[in-house]
Symmetry: C2
Subunit: 721 residues, 2 copies
Amino acid sequence: METWSLTKSGYDPSAFAADGNRFLSANGYMGVRGTVEEADKTQFPAITLAGVYDQYQDKWREPVNAPNCLFAQLSMNGQALTLSDLSKSEHSVSIDYRHGIYQRDTDFGPVRLKSQRFASLDRCHLLLDRLSIEVKEDGELEILTGVFCDLWDINGPHLFDQSFEQGKAISCRARTGEKGIVVAAAQCAKADFEYAERFVHIKDGLGRILKSKVRKGDSLTLDIFASVYTSLDGAEPVQAAKEECLQAHARGFESCLKAHCDAWESVWARSEIKMEGDPAAQLAIHASQYHLNCVAPRHADNMSIPARGLSGQTYKGAIFWDSEMFFFPMFVYTQPEIAKSLLRYRTETLGGALVKAREYGYRGAYYAWESQEGGKEGCTNFNVVDVFTHRPVRTYFRDKQIHISGDIAYALRSYYEITGDRTLLEEGGAEVILECARFYLSRANCRLDADEVDYDDVIGPDEYHERVSNNAFTNQMIRYCMESALKLRDIFNDRLEWFDALLERLRFMEDWRLLEKTCKRIRQMRRREGVIEQFDGYFDLEDCSLADVRARLVDPREYWGGDHGVAGTTQIIKQADVIAMMALFPESFDDGEVAKNWAYYEPRTEHGSSLSACMYALTACRVGRLDEAWELFMRTATIDIEGGGKEWAGEIYIGGTHPASNGGAWMIAALGFAGLRLQNGRLELHPHLPRQLTRLVIPISFRGQKQIIEVSPDGAVIRNA
Amino acid sequence: METWSLTKSGYDPSAFAADGNRFLSANGYMGVRGTVEEADKTQFPAITLAGVYDQYQDKWREPVNAPNCLFAQLSMNGQALTLSDLSKSEHSVSIDYRHGIYQRDTDFGPVRLKSQRFASLDRCHLLLDRLSIEVKEDGELEILTGVFCDLWDINGPHLFDQSFEQGKAISCRARTGEKGIVVAAAQCAKADFEYAERFVHIKDGLGRILKSKVRKGDSLTLDIFASVYTSLDGAEPVQAAKEECLQAHARGFESCLKAHCDAWESVWARSEIKMEGDPAAQLAIHASQYHLNCVAPRHADNMSIPARGLSGQTYKGAIFWDSEMFFFPMFVYTQPEIAKSLLRYRTETLGGALVKAREYGYRGAYYAWESQEGGKEGCTNFNVVDVFTHRPVRTYFRDKQIHISGDIAYALRSYYEITGDRTLLEEGGAEVILECARFYLSRANCRLDADEVDYDDVIGPDEYHERVSNNAFTNQMIRYCMESALKLRDIFNDRLEWFDALLERLRFMEDWRLLEKTCKRIRQMRRREGVIEQFDGYFDLEDCSLADVRARLVDPREYWGGDHGVAGTTQIIKQADVIAMMALFPESFDDGEVAKNWAYYEPRTEHGSSLSACMYALTACRVGRLDEAWELFMRTATIDIEGGGKEWAGEIYIGGTHPASNGGAWMIAALGFAGLRLQNGRLELHPHLPRQLTRLVIPISFRGQKQIIEVSPDGAVIRNA
């Protein structure tokens, strides 16, 4: 069984959206959806740019799709060759996870077309596509390619004032509507056959048509070199894009391909998990690691990863807590410079978090729930559309999901503890932790007649229950954030002068004293027979089954959450919440507690988020539920193979790849199966190898030292690499 | 124009529900809906009992309807005479507001039937009906009457184990399902004509059929004497009911009628408002005062009045803040013993309020939003049914409408100030005020880093906006409640030993000190250009018109409130909120402020509650908007003439009479048009007589002294009566 690639045969219009995600190629700067070269808008093609946002009218802000510079349409004797004419057996697409190469193989009848397409991992602005054409009938072949702005956008259009230039490289210059960011794309082509060329203005773009008389048995190759730059990358994006693709043209396809593959090899050398004993699992973990690695911001040191990666504009291309909770662990243990970039995005967007806290009447740093450039809050007050009235529904994710600040502080502290690298704390990280703690001081709810500090009116990880009090996860995160702020003094005990100056600069002295008192006063979790109550009053909610709740749906696309949703007034939860806390703070709960809470909450969890299964799998390992852990691992790790997951929230399309599940798969393998845990400054293994595996190998990096974890049924070891 | 009665001609099946309310006769113990004697369930007849509740299965608890002991069906020559055979002109019904007598006049063809029916005001268990029959054709007349348990119930059935006894009086004994309360009804009849009698068991009851040969020109009279008792009234309710109706039988109809009318005359002598210059207004205020007077608990000293009076089972027959805010003013100024009864209901149900506060984790007294016997909370977590999914919707009236406790404290203080009677405070009222203040101490939200005390997560009078912070009305009520608690020490400065013992018994010493500090710290109202913000963030909500919001409805019966409703995310409010505060605390705001707030809020108010128009009218008088005040007065005062008001909240029927509007009409006349205000212990008049009126006369009672207010275009005076 093939463990490094995924192939799908046949032409399947019902899966255009899903396949675009499944066969994604990306390099952190941009993602190219896995659609065929000639795809039109109905097939949802896109080249989605990381970190470039635009708002059109009053629609949601979302990432910008670049001009389509990889478009190619073949015609034979004046007849366009399209997939819709084909029967199933004559078309297949695949993704090579090892090198991130999208391939197609289509027998159109008169010609057979194969392609090899990738977003170059070594040069982030570069896109390549090699078209290999096998001629099966004599005739006149035309290939239309170029740069086109007739794009699929969810909340677009975004590209205005388009202008095009022809030449050896075709180039396009456009400007986003909101901020006037210049987006440039260029493309040139190299053919190994004779052709006549003419330029055409079509599809909101500029194309060239290569016309060639071909004969049965001919093999033709056309290499397309394309490039995308924006004015955020430098002053002359058009020029840069042209130069980039012309230089690649000069180097040639093979040379570019080799550099790209080498880059991938070095990524895999640092991160590849080997799972022996079950090829499907090996494929799944390859797929997961591929999808997470391919969206990592390798070209920048201060960027993070959107919740749907670079697979499109879903979720506004925003940065969620997924970054710190689900992407971060694999990176911090395999490629810490990427983990650092994710967190530097947070330290550099502290300003946005300070503004958001002030907007709600608080002090300190309240990070955006859906963070866009500069930490700008992309989350609106209305995130769901009611399926019955088609009216937007007020949700409270933006206002109430306050655990986000603590999640960031948690990752900042972890980064320091795992890498031993204090520079991130010095360069803004300590300030972020302090400002997050300050936010929680200011957000605390006290009573006149009680000592405890409450956190009322919040949303925990389980978003179906809005506006609850004392969510256990949230309170725990807050407590840890406050403790981490106080811990900074120990971390900097050799630089106390610097640290005290920082406190002074932040006018933090009074808050420091308040922190010391408050972190002990936060309301303790309530328990019933060892089960922690998810929030105040959760146990009083209707205790019915998932099937009961599902049966109450009148429309399958209904939103489950909030007071109006079928789950909101019951104990059915969207995703791991108490269990997520137990997964993140393993040392705070003993095995018996975890077992009881797992048994209570798992049957009540819809797993309606890709953030859920992983947390349950991690804790399932710990309590010896290995078959369940395995099932959850496979569900998590195959999500971007299957193309599963929820595609709708009310009337809003939310499909895409699932980097959180991708990261979750790594977490289950490393933190669950291998049982990797950092305790008192040392790595420990508490292995729980599922019976399906005979050997598990995980490369990691710990405090600058490359190490290898090996787990077999006989035991587990960590050794230096 | 007739100013003492309302007549409706014709047969109108579309108005069965509304007419049952319009033509209600009641005496505080029970209400007899204004349906014809022969009405079956489809016409919604009911004899609804005050303060007797029952729950069937898991449906809402609601008041119990007594067995129908006023049923009477005529037949001629074996043919039942029914309204559905009639053309419009041959039927009319009327209500005589002066004496609370329902009358019908139906020409069935063979006979013409008139009736005079009333719930006796001097003997609360007694119901009478005189049937006068004019024979127009020879034939054989049969009259079926008796006691029947085939009842209309909204959330029933409620009567079980029914047994019937025949004799001179027919009697029925039944038992409620939940608590086994015995409900007994009896009936006897007196005819001035010859008849043969037989008994029949039909319609879940026992009837007697009087058969008589009649001749054209005959005039027959049948008097029905009926009575209802329950085991809450005494040990032998069946016996008591039989005796009651037999004694009435012995006294005779005329004698009973006279005693009843005399009782009404004395009510009117104490309360009748005279409005000269506009007969329609005179009729409207008569109707309003009738509908409120007829549901007053004259037979008890510790009962209150349900929000829909005794017109049926709507709103669970529960006691709302309507009692203190809208019923109380007319009674305290005209019949203070009834005002006292309303409030004694609260002092005697303090236990329920203490329990409710504890249930939510607070101390002190948190009164039920929908109070049933013993202060039991009748409000559930689900008060609306979604029209699209038919699922119940979580509402927060029960949890968050905390102003209720302050409303009660406000009325307790007013009772003392207006009547000068301190006994109510001594006999529990002071304790209630203290416990309400204690509740607010315990419910206060503080911050670690701010001095102000917030009241977060509340609902103000405007129920469309749930879970808001610092509702201006609520904060003002809380502040006043705390001040009133502290004020008790002055009120009892001649009995300090008693008062201190009370504090001691309530272990209130520490809370007293906390009260002194806290009442000054409650968050001040925010203002924008003089307009008080209804709650934190209200001004940030979408500012659209009532018409805009209405146009968004997909179904006319949709519930407007909550995050899901069309109004919830806009500035459109259900009812007076800031303006209600200004109406209740006139001395705290100057005319300019009231004018600005009126101009801002009125166009944004749906008036979707019968509690709204009155508050706007009162304040409109003050700011000289007399035409608007007049329009709002007429809308308020005619509501139970028109039979208007909302009949649906989602899928829940909420029709009935509107005692709050009835009380509101009195308030507009007395507190608005006459401008009656108690200031520094003295009554003042600030008259604003609308141009429609030439003279306004209002009898009141102030500190035991009967007085008459007279307002004319020339001025206003108060004189002793």
